[in-house]
Symmetry: C2
Subunit: 206 residues, 2 copies
C-alpha cells in the first residue's frame, strides 16, 4: 500500500498528470534510450516495452508504427532542450542554445543518439523524421533572427541559416565525432565571429 501523500511526491511527476502521462513520459524516454542503444534499423517495440516496464499493447495502442513512436520521442527530446528563448538580444538567445550544447549530460545523450542513428540516415523514413525535428528546433532560431532584424541588430534579408546552424553544428560534430570537450570560450568566440560577420551584412541573401 502506498502511504506517501501526493503532496510529497516529486513535482515533475505530479505535474504531468497521472498514470497516463507517466506512461507517455516513460515510453518516450525509453524510446530515446533504445534508439541510442540499437539505432533506427535495430529498433524494436519489445525493447522499448522492456525498458519502460509496460506491455507492447500499451505502446501500440498510442503509437501504431515505429515511425509514430520515434517521431514522438524525437520531438519530445528536441523540445526538452531549452533551445532558444527571447532574452532580448540575439547574442543572448544564441548563448542560451550553446549552453544547452555544453551541458555534459545533454551533450553525451545527444552524441550517443546521433552516433546510433547516423548509420541509418540513408533510410528516407529516418531522414524525413530528422528533417521534421530539425525544422521544429529551427523555428525558434529563425524567430530569434527575425527579432534581431526587427531590433536593428542585423540587416534585413540576413539568411537565418548562416547564423543559427553553424555554431551549433560545429559544436555537435566536434563532440559526437572527435569527443572534444568544448571550451566555453571557444563557443563564445565562434558566436562572436558569426554575429560580427552577420552584423556587417555578410549574411544577406542577394
Amino acid at each position: 500500500m502506498r502511504t506517501t501523500p501526493r503532496s510529497l511526491q516529486p513535482t515533475s511527476r505530479r505535474r504531468t498528470g497521472g498514470r497516463s502521462a507517466r506512461v507517455v513520459h516513460d515510453v518516450l524516454e525509453a524510446t530515446v534510450d533504445a534508439l541510442a542503444a540499437t539505432g533506427y534499423s535495430g529498433f524494436s517495440f519489445e525493447d522499448v516495452a522492456a525498458r519502460a516496464g509496460v506491455s507492447r499493447t500499451t505502446i501500440y495502442r498510442r503509437w501504431p508504427t515505429k515511425q509514430d513512436l520515434v517521431r514522438a520521442a524525437l520531438l519530445r527530446f528536441a523540445e526538452a532542450c531549452p533551445i532558444i528563448g527571447d532574452t532580448g538580444s540575439l547574442r543572448g538567445d544564441l548563448q542560451q542554445n550553446l549552453r544547452t550544447l555544453h551541458d555534459p549530460e545533454h551533450a553525451a545523450r545527444q552524441a550517443g543518439l546521433l552516433r546510433a542513428l547516423m548509420a541509418d540516415f540513408d533510410d528516407p523514413e529516418l531522414v524525413a523524421l530528422a528533417r521534421l525535428v530539425r525544422e521544429r528546433m529551427r523555428q525558434p532560431a529563425v524567430a530569434a533572427v527575425e527579432r534581431a532584424i526587427a531590433r536593428g541588430e542585423l540587416p534585413p534579408g540576413t539568411d537565418p541559416d548562416v547564423v543559427i546552424e553553424p555554431a551549433a553544428f560545429t559544436v555537435v560534430m566536434r563532440q559526437a565525432i572527435f569527443g572534444d570537450r568544448i571550451d566555453p570560450e571557444y563557443g563564445e568566440r565562434l558566436l562572436d565571429v558569426i554575429l560580427a560577420g552577420a552584423r556587417a551584412g555578410a549574411g544577406v541573401k542577394r
Copy 2:
C-alpha cells in the same frame, strides 16, 4: 637496369612504382569501401581482401592490424581531397576546400563513410584515428590562416578553429544527416560571414 630517364617518367602510376603501389592503392580503396559498408566494428580483413582481389596475407604483411590498415586508408582518403592550397587569399583557399565538399561524388562517399563509422565513435581506438586524420586535414587550414595573418588579411592572434572548421562541419553535417543538397551560394555566404567576422577581430583569442 633502369633505362627510362627520370624526366620522361610521366604519371603518378609510374612514379608510385608498379605492382606493389597498385596493390597498396587497391587495398586502401577497398578499405574505405569496406568501412563505408560495415563500419569499424564490423570491419574485416576478409572483406577487404575480397574487394581488392588480393590475399589476406598480402594485406597482413604490410598492415598487421586493423588499426594500421584503417589509419593508412583514412589518411590517404583525407590526402586525396585537395583540401586547401595557397591561392593567394584566405577566401580563395577556403573556397577551394568548400568546392571539394560540394563535389557530389566526394560528398556522397564522405557522407557514407561518416554514417557508417559514426556508431563506433565511442571506441577510443577509432576516436584516436579520427583525431589523427582531422589533424592531418587541419594543418593546411591552419597554415592558410597563418598566411592570411602574415598578409594582413586577419588580425594577429585569430583562432584558426573559429575560421576553418565551422563552414566545413556545417556543410558536412547538413549533407550527411539531413541529405541536404547545399546551394553553392549558401556556402559562399557562410564563408563571407565567417571571414567578415574574423577580419573584424571577433576571432582573436583573448
